[in-house]
Symmetry: C2
Amino acid sequence: MSDSSARLDTLANSAERHLQELTEWLRIPSISSDSSRHEQVAEAADWLVKKFTSAGLKVELIPTEGHPMVLAETPEVKNAPVVLVYGHYDVQPVEPLDEWISPPFEPTVRDGNLYARGATDDKGQVLTHVHSVCDWLSSGQPLPLQIKFLIEGEEEVGSENLERMLPQMRDRLACDCVVISDSGQYSDGQPAITYGLRGIATYELRVDGPNQDLHSGSFGGAVMNPAIGLCHMLSSMVDQNGRIKIPGYYDNVRELAPNERDQWNQLPQDDQQFASAIGVDELFGEQGYTTDERRWARPTFDINGLTSGHQGEGVKTIVPATASAKISFRLVPDQDPNHLTEQLKEHLQAHAPPGIRWSITADHGAPGMLADTESRFMAAARNAIEKAFGVAPVLIREGGSIPIVTRFQDVLKCDCLLLGWGLSDDNAHSPNEKFRVQDFHRGIQASAVLWDEIGQLS
Amino acid sequence: MSDSSARLDTLANSAERHLQELTEWLRIPSISSDSSRHEQVAEAADWLVKKFTSAGLKVELIPTEGHPMVLAETPEVKNAPVVLVYGHYDVQPVEPLDEWISPPFEPTVRDGNLYARGATDDKGQVLTHVHSVCDWLSSGQPLPLQIKFLIEGEEEVGSENLERMLPQMRDRLACDCVVISDSGQYSDGQPAITYGLRGIATYELRVDGPNQDLHSGSFGGAVMNPAIGLCHMLSSMVDQNGRIKIPGYYDNVRELAPNERDQWNQLPQDDQQFASAIGVDELFGEQGYTTDERRWARPTFDINGLTSGHQGEGVKTIVPATASAKISFRLVPDQDPNHLTEQLKEHLQAHAPPGIRWSITADHGAPGMLADTESRFMAAARNAIEKAFGVAPVLIREGGSIPIVTRFQDVLKCDCLLLGWGLSDDNAHSPNEKFRVQDFHRGIQASAVLWDEIGQLS
C-alpha cells in the first residue's frame, strides 16, 4: 500500500472525529454582520487557532478594524511549491428563523446531510483542508509542500479589511497557488473545478424631477415624470433579446474558446428542468448562447431594485418627485469596471429625457477572472478529485463574483484553484443550509491527495 | 337701489359674522379618513344641520355606511329652475403637523388669509353658498328659484357611498344645474369658471418572474429580469416626446376647439415661472400644445409608483422575483376608461417580454367632463362673478378629475357649474391650508347674485 493510500485509509478511519469537530465549530454563531455576535465571531476564530496549534502549525490571529483573520503555516519545504488555502469562518445571518427545520446553530444530520448555518459556506469546506493538513502533520510525516492558511472573518460582509491589507501582507502570503473551496460541484455526483468567475459592477441610478410629488391631474402632461424617465433610461440599456445596448459594452468581452463550448456542451443541461426549478415558463437571454454559456461567460445587465412614488395600498395619483434603481452588471474577462462606468455615463447622457436631473453612483466593481486550465496545479487538482470522488471533474466557470480571487492573482501573482465540494441545493445564504456528509469526507480525501500531487510537482 | 344691490350691502354688513361662523365650523376636526375622528365628523354635519334649520330650510341628515350626508332644501318655486349645490364638510388629514404655522383646527387670520384645515377645501367655499341662501331667507324675502344642498362627508375618501346611492336619490336631487365650489380662480385677481375636467383611469401592473429573488451571479443572463420586463413594458407606452403609444389611445380624444385655444392663449402663461415653481429646469410634454392645453385638455400617462427588489441601503445583487408599477391615465372627452382597459391589455400583451407572467388590475375609472359653455346657467354665472369680483371670469378647464360631477350629469341629466373661489397656492391637502378672507366674502356675493341671475331665467 502506498503512503498515499495508507493516508486515505487513516483519514477514513477518522471520519467520525472529523464530523464531530465540524459540528463543534458550527455551533458557534459567527455571524459577521451582526454586531451583537462580535464575541461569537471571535470565538470561532479562536476555535480554529486552537485546532491549528494542536497540530503544530505556526498560527497568528491578525486583528483588523473588524473581525480578525487566522493565518497558519506548515513548515517551509525547500524547492517545493507553496499553497495558500483561503476561506472564511464567518457565516450569513439566519433569518427567517422559522423556516429552519432544525435550529441553525444546532448541527443535525438528516438523510446523509449535515444541516447548520455555515455547513457548506464555508466552515465545512474550509475544514476539509484543515483536517487533511492537521492529520498529516499529526501522523508525524512531513508535508511535501508548504501550506499557508488564511481564514478570514469578514467574507460575508465584503472582505474590505482583507482587500485593504492584502498589499502589505504580500510577503507573508507569498505562494504559487491559492486554493479556495467555497463553491460547488457541477451536479450531484459530478465534481467540478471552477476556472472562471464573472466580475461585477454595481450602481445606483437616480432621477429627480419636481421638488415634491405633484398632483397628476393638475400637472400631468406638463412635466417629465421621473419614473417614466427612469424606465426609458433603463429600457434603453438592453434590447428585447437581452443584448446590452451601451455602446462599446462588448468591445473587450473575450469570446468563449471553442474547446470551452465543446466541453460545456457535453454537460447535462436541461433548460426545461432549470426553468421549472426557479418557477418560470421559459428561460431568456442573449441569442446564440446556451444557458450555461450565458450564466458563466457572457456579461449581463440586471435591475436589482426599483423605487419611486407610491408603493402602499390603493391609489395615489401623483407625478413622483424622484425615482431610482439599483442596477448591476456581471462582467467577463477582459471587461474593466471603471471603463464601464464611463461608457454607462455616456449612454445615460444620450438617453436622459429633458426636464429631469439624473445621477449615477458607482458602488463596487471587480473584473472577471480566468484561471489557466493548462497549469500544473490544475492537473494536480484533476487527479486529486478523480481519486477521491471516483469521477474526473469537469471544468466549469461560475457566474458569480469573488472579488478577492482577482485581488490574490494581482497582488500575489499566483495560480488559483477553485475546488468546490458543495451542491447547488445546499442553501447557502438560505434557511436549512446543509453539506452532504459524504462530500465533506470526500473533500478531505481530495485535499490530502492534492497535497501529494502538488508535492510531486517540485 | 335695486333689491340685488341692497342684498349685497346687507351681506357686506354681515361679513364679520360670516367669518366668525366659518371659524366655528373649521374648529371641528372632521377628518373623514381618520376612524378616531368619527364623532367630530358627525359634529361637523350637525353644525351644518343646525345652520340650515335656523334659516328655515328643510333639512335631513342622511346616514350612509360611512359618514352622513346633509340634504337641505329651500321651498319649491313654481316654473323656476332648481339648483343643487354640492360640496363636502369632511377634510384631509393634517400631517405633517409640525409644518403648520398655526394649528390646523385653530383658525387664524394672517395677512388677509384664514388659515385652517378645510378653509378652502371645502368648508369655506361651501359656506359662501350657505350664507348667501340662509341670509336671503332670513331677510324674509323669497328666493326666485329652489336651491337644494347636498353636502357630503366622504369626498376626501372617494365619495363611494354617494356614488352608490345616487341613482336611488335621483328624484330628491332632481335639478336643472349643479353648482360646485371646490376649485380655484385662474390666478390672483382673475376669477374663472371651470367648464371641463379630465377623467381618470388607474391601474396596477405587476410582473412576476422566478419564484424567489435569485442570485444575479448564478442566474443573471439566464432569466428575464422582471424589473427589466416592467421597464420595457412601461417604456413602450409613451414615446420620448410624451406621445402615448397605445394603439387607438387618441381615437376618441376630442380636439380642442379653435375658440378654446384662442381664449387660453390670452391667459397669462409663463412656462419658465411655472417650471421654477415646481423645481424643474424645463417643462415637458406632447408637442404642439401649450402647457395649459396639455394640463387641461390632453390625455396623459403617468407612473405613480414603482416597486421591485432591493430598496434599502447598499447593494443586493439579485434578479428580483417581482416588479410592479402603479400607473394612471388622465382622460379627456370622449375617451372611455373601460375601452382604455381593453386597449391597454392588448398593448401590454404585444410588449410583454418572454419568461415572465404579468397582470394588470384596473382600480378606478371615470370619463372626463365638459360643460356647455353656451348654456344659460353659464351666462348667469359669468354675470354673477363679474359683479362680485369686478372682473369677468375666464373659461378654463382643470386637469384633475371629480368623478362625482360626471355621475351627476349622467344620473341627474343636469347642467353643471364649477365656480372656484380659491387660489392655486391655497395649500389644499397640504400644511397651512388657507382661504383668502376677501375671496370668501366675494364668493358669498357672487353666490347671491347667481341666485338672482338664475331666478331671472325662469
